[in-house]
Symmetry: D3
Subunit: 242 residues, 6 copies
């Protein structure tokens, strides 16, 4: 089985970290292909950048010319998943949803610890749209930007642990979701320091994508995610710079 | 005062109809400038097309090189408004919100009548995110595609009236919102035939945008809609084909 | 166009302040007529006083014998708007709703800063009934009574700013609504000191009322706000003391 | 123990019917005093009439010059209960709440069958404010006006049974609440014909008021229902025509 | 009238305290019979123990071989009430619901003060299922286990008062519910020290059960609580150790 | 990896069917052990039977004396999962949740088709408690009892398809969940006849349990699902008839 995992940022180091994390949990026989968008922000931290990433991810995935069985969108709280679901016949899994739906098996309430405060409302809104917000105790910002996370993982761990502990103590969270694709791989350290289960969305998404493929399930095409109607679409595909 | 009104479709006839409707209700001294995106679908009827339009509208508005006081996004239930709010300092009004918030002054519950059934969940989701869904009695599809509306307004009126009457009778709506930018100008005929107030989002948005400008109010920059951080953004601005 | 703006308190100084504020934002050609109820409390701060004001406002508006185009009820979180909507054919705008629906165009969440703590639940309940509560981050009390606000505007500004700053910092509000008709005119000072948009409900209501009139829209009469049935009503109209 | 039960309509025949029903379920030693407002509509069927009744009931109760232990407001879905709670130290029970909270002990979901369609949104809104709407399957109108109910009880039973049966079959109600003070006494007939428990709000309110008195419980005065502050209130008490 | 009141714990001292409290508020002519389950935990403080108690209570009530008119389940936030409702024809009242529905007549919002933190989510969930959570300001833990409450009532009062005061001040509760059957009898002391109404669920449940019996109302059998279908049930009744 | 899958019914034929279905989707190396409770109803269709099953499943799982890695509770909409989570250190997956959380990856809304109408409220309530109800379009009953499903699978398919088609057409479901452990294995036939993805909870639960084990994740023990405190528990373990 081949799973495409699309970074939302144009920074390839993040793509590599995400793909490496995905490979570390993938079942034997699952091939992970990391994709970096051809255009967009080096790090996605807000609506404009997220909308641009949404289109860039769709463009990049459509340009992939080998067969594949599922697609993971590896941005936390980002736009675009519904577009991929329309365009593709294979299952699409967003790491925001994957972390949340996994966390709900582990405790009565979960919190998300993310990067900057400005992305908190985006994450909350995406969880609401996905129907996974009811058991969300809080979304908290570590205060570190995406690229700062990448540059200094130990500082990241420290900042995330601080918010995770407050989430458990003040917000009554029982599980922590790592709210950024770039946090992949930090889960074990944070679990050890907080004593609660920590869910990495990339890892969770890999197992969910594998499961859907194994069960022969894919996106329903009867209504919301029906294939786009045939029509004139100017400037599409973009294939930016290719 | 100059207000930009951005069509989400690349069909210029729709832009013209929208701008004409906007002008018909604008206050003396308000200049309406209609903008057509440089890329994207000829008609937007689903998530992929809507995400593409989101970026195309942002690209097109940013390329406008004269001063302006407010921007209206004239697509019903479409993505992108939050991106414009980050990128711009002037107020941004989406016609989905404008119709709904206006309808709530006119009756206890409102319904939206839109184009195709596949767009109903998008509209519902956008209203939920905007916090304007509580008093929404229903979103109903006329079954006509955007370009069919344009091609045959009388058939459109008939199809909308049928759903509007069912919304009043079965869903207990007291006000009807026209759920497509391309329906601009049909409100009076539908009001006459249904006996309930009919709100055209384009018209409502013009008065709201004018009001915000007049009151000196614009988007809060303290959190969700803060200006994007300075960073490398590949392929932006797009200025497609220019 | 003539707009009646009804104070809910029987203190005429408040009526004058409200009308003055309304005139300062009204469009050229809009005449503002301030009305003071003929009975009721000098300041409305609770359910009993608010119910009494509801009837007093209806009584006072019905006694106005010149033509008019819209009515604004200038009490924050007060009862009565639905009664006016039944009795009148022209649009009715409550400043509670006007501030909230305007705030929602300016940020992801808004807070209201009002007078006494005892009025907070009334405001929350009115916003819930109006369907405008979803994006409300909090309703906070400044601790000042209505007449204290009137007597000492600078103390009022200080108390409001303190709560507004906490709303932004702790409750994640991005916009502040002034939660009392008597706060009209303080918006600019509070905006300057908090750095977020501040919405005065009186000003917002004027532009909304003007817009509804301009668009030819008024209250739906098909169900909730149908004209009262013809029947014996003892002691009505009250025309108290006239 | 003496319980005042206030009709919201100025029709004394309804007061008598309500008081008779209340007496039929009251405990030995409970005295029921029926009060008819001195002003207001002969039958309350909408917001204006309901707001007027709210004040008229407060005025009438305050004018009662003997000791009493609790007050019941016997209008279904009417305004005013919160005002009484502020003005009085004894417990206040609204029949809308009494029927709903009782019904919730009897089945998983309840429906209300009321008079005219125009009153349905009022009842829904009052139940929402009281926090008792979650298990409400529907509010249905029998189509009969209050005075028609009084005039022809057998026709009333027939119309209510029809809606009750639809509520059970279509809306999945398991219990029916009689949604009008004037329906007092019809419960047994309707239960016999529908096979589900039928709750008359007047009867339920009597037992709840008695229970609160017996338990020594009354309205909390710490916030929402604190006694009104001392201030000038023009035209109050009204004592209409006395 | 005879009312069975079932303790959920197997500690008979608690049964006695509950029954004594029940008798102290029962109407003349009401006989209270306390039942202790034949199996289960000495104190119920979590889901496993609560599920076991659910079955043990059903088993114990079914083994009672004299006539009775109503059953009270005297555990706060425990499982099982729906099972009793299926098995019995007489009304069933849970003290969780009884306290909450009573509190809602006394203030705009109520808080529950319970025993250990681990039981808070159970109580919240039971209130949600019962449709009584909307006006719940908070559920707070005193930190004392059930048997500690029993052993040292003055320490219990102190711990409950501390949380009750925080509930009023921080969570805006206006009424306090005692969140444990074992707190029966402490209400008066806590009311005196906090100044807000305090509801003991056992007392409230007695008056509600009496009222339902008096009104001739019992559980609807049309759907959720229909009598179990005839079928083979291994090991039932349990009649543990008898 | 060894996964225990517990039937809630005491009918061993259902255990065998469930285990067979589980084995058909399990990964290589996963051993499935089916467990039948030692007491309880031959088929679980209501609250009493479900509560009894909850305890019987806990009792049966605790009696299993070999190592295992995860437990699946294979009843749809049944009580008990939270008790298992407290008692065990390995992950616990309920098929109700598994089907719903899987369905949410496949479409905008899902419906459940279950057995008898009386079980519909149980399923709705369990989904609400699990935080997975937001995207639930409806829960529909096929009208067939559990043992009828077992006895005549073709009749079951027909009855389920009828309700599934109505769920898609009338309730706007895009995915169907099979709402009974005994429906395991029917998914493919129903998918073929309805054209929408069909999720069997048993299959979904197997992949989720495997994934949690693979990711090293298990139940959080910090609050709701902490291990029960040490105390006297009469009659436990039950080990009925052993």
């Amino acid at each position: 089985m081949r799973i495409l995992i699309a970074n939302v940022n144009t920074t390839t180091a993040i793509t590599e970290a995400i793909a490496e994390q995905a490979r570390s949990v993938a079942a034997p026989g699952t091939e992970i292909v990391g994709l970096t968008p051809w255009f967009g922000a080096e790090s996605v931290e807000g609506n404009f950048e997220s909308y641009l990433a949404a289109i860039a991810v769709m463009d990049r995935v459509l340009a992939y010319d080998q067969p594949y069985d599922a697609v993971i969108q590896a941005g936390y709280g980002e736009h675009g998943r519904e577009g991929l679901q329309e365009l593709l016949d294979v299952p699409v899994v967003d790491i925001t949803d994957a972390a949340a739906s996994t966390a709900m098996y582990l405790g009565h309430a979960y919190s998300v610890v993310t990067t900057l405060d400005r992305t908190v409302p985006l994450i909350e809104d995406r969880l609401k749209l996905s129907g996974l917000y009811d058991r969300c105790a809080s979304v908290r910002a570590s205060g570190l930007a995406v690229l700062e996370l990448e540059a200094d993982p130990q500082r990241a761990v420290q900042a995330i642990v601080e918010q995770a502990e407050r989430a458990v103590r003040e917000d009554k969270a029982e599980v922590i979701c790592l709210g950024c694709g770039g946090m992949a791989g930090l889960d074990e350290q944070i679990r050890r320091r907080t004593g609660v289960p920590v869910v990495d969305g990339v890892s969770a998404a890999v197992t969910i994508a594998e499961s859907l493929v194994r069960l022969g399930l894919s996106t329903s095409k009867v209504r919301t995610y029906a294939t786009p109607r045939t029509k004139q679409v100017l400037g599409w595909p973009m294939r930016f710079g290719r």
